[in-house]
């Protein structure tokens, strides 16, 4: 009887965690660790682990982005796609090929420069391949969406959304041809098409 109650309690908490993570309640998506702790209790990581397993069946996963010190309450949790979209699919989200190419260049350049680079320098690199108006427009847009951050000194950094959405190591590996660019969308968990390497590249929820 007690066991049944525990299962029902866990189910309720998993449902609550899904609502917290999937419905945007702030300007930014995602939920901070302290909010999860407040709503799900001290063992919120166990609830998140169960939710992650459930979301895996739908091709989604729970991603943690560290906010500061390890185990900090400011860590933020998001639901992201477990696999990645194909270029053609990303275009249906409203992304043009040149927008994706520009973000790819900016992120690679900033990552190769220890995570920060002056805006002017980034613009100069981009203008070798793209028109100036496009570069300015896209950088503004990426800052607004959280892919990039800019400080008062005009230095660009990797933004919170990049930390949540982009596998930075894979990005550099793919750029250098160390990993293969996969055109096909990775299928949800359980599908035979999912590559082992891709699965390994996913960050586990702690």
């Amino acid at each position: 009887m007690a066991e049944e109650k525990d299962v029902a309690d866990l189910r309720e908490k998993v449902a609550r965690a899904a609502q917290l993570l999937l419905f945007r309640r702030h300007m930014q998506p995602g939920v901070k660790a302290w909010e999860l702790k407040r709503d799900l209790g001290r063992n919120y990581l166990e609830v998140i682990k169960v939710l992650d397993d459930e979301l895996g069946k739908l091709g989604l996963t729970v991603k943690k982005v560290e906010g500061g010190e390890e185990g900090s309450d400011s860590d933020r949790y998001f639901v992201t796609m477990r696999g990645h979209p194909a270029v053609s699919e990303a275009r249906t989200f409203g992304w043009r090929i040149d927008d994706m190419a520009i973000l790819s260049v900016v992120l690679s350049y900033i990552l190769s420069k220890q995570g920060k680079a002056p805006l002017k320098e980034v613009e100069r690199v981009l203008e070798e391949k793209f028109p100036r108006w496009k570069v300015e427009q896209d950088i503004d847009r990426f800052i607004r969406r959280g892919y990039l951050e800019e400080d008062d000194e005009g230095v660009l950094y990797i933004g919170w959304r990049t930390r949540a959405e982009v596998d930075q190591k894979a990005l550099l590996g793919l750029l250098l041809g160390r990993e293969k660019v996969v055109e096909e969308k990775v299928k949800p968990e359980g599908s035979p098409e999912v590559g082992e390497n891709e699965r390994e590249a996913e960050e586990d929820v702690q």
């Binding site: 309640r25 995570g115 391949k129 847009r141 959405e165 894979a170 750029l175």
Partner: protein
């Protein structure tokens, strides 16, 4: 060697500037000979005269300490799996096409999934708005006269001395060239093209675009479902005698312009 007060000050300011360059501009911290600078600071320390010089000395020492911190960070980064030579990255960026670069991003991209929702407070506010909204009939009875905007022909502008024929033709040609460059062989969003830093400039661009389309320099494609309008430049101006033409009214209000500037 005689070191004047001016020399001492210059040395300390140079060290402070160097430290700022390392922190802000990404100068390699290993390009700074920290040991030598510390030795020079030690040499001038007994000669420092006033509190200003001592403050500069403190800032210079703190700057050097910061450079050492960045040297440590640099070593940590270079020994991590994420480190790749920036020159190699630049070479790859230059050699890949836009499509390949887009593929690099999407293959490492796991977009966030979330849903926007409305709060009970938001629902109540919407309900109040709807309940208090006058009926259509009441609104129609308001004492106002609608004045429809009218098109001003180029001849009329020329008559008023606002624009000469030469200026007008060169403005059209300039806009056509810009449109071709931005569309890059394809099409471009109407709003992206006319969008400018000021509302007045945006209206001016929209006005020129209306002539680009009317005179056959470009075509306009309205996609009502997506609520998007695209402009496609033509390689040569098209004669319009045999083409079925139609008018596309596009309203540009200041609030709409501000909204688009804000949300991109």
């Amino acid at each position: 060697m005689v070191v004047t007060g001016q020399d001492r000050k210059e040395l300390m300011l140079r060290i402070i500037n160097l430290a700022e360059s390392v922190i802000k501009s990404g100068v390699d911290p290993f390009d700074v000979d920290v040991k030598e600078f510390f030795e020079r600071l030690r040499a001038i320390l007994p000669k420092l005269r006033d509190s200003d010089e001592l403050n500069l000395d403190i800032d210079a020492v703190l700057g050097l300490a910061n450079i050492i911190f960045h040297q440590g960070e640099s070593i940590r980064f270079k020994s991590s799996l994420l480190y790749l030579d920036p020159l190699l990255i630049m070479w790859k960026i230059r050699s890949l096409s836009s499509k390949e670069l887009a593929g690099v991003l999407t293959s490492s991209w796991h977009p966030i999934v979330d849903m926007e929702s409305i709060t009970p407070h938001g629902i109540k506010e919407s309900m109040d708005y709807w309940t208090n909204l006058p009926s259509f009939g009441d609104r129609a009875r308001l004492d106002s006269t609608e004045v429809l905007p009218e098109e001003m022909e180029f001849q009329e502008l020329a008559r008023l001395g606002i624009l000469s024929k030469e200026e007008f033709v060169s403005a059209i040609e300039r806009a056509w060239g810009e449109l071709k460059e931005k569309a890059d062989g394809g099409e471009i969003s109407y709003w992206d093209f006319i969008n400018a830093k000021t509302f007045e400039e945006t209206i001016s661009r929209a006005w020129i675009v209306s002539f680009l389309v009317s005179y056959g320099y470009a075509t306009i494609d309205v996609k009502p479902l997506e609520e998007e309008i695209f402009l496609k430049p033509l390689p040569k101006p098209m004669k319009l005698e045999r083409v079925t033409t139609f008018s596309v009214p596009i309203s540009i209000s200041r609030s709409e312009w501000q909204r688009r500037r804000k949300h991109g």
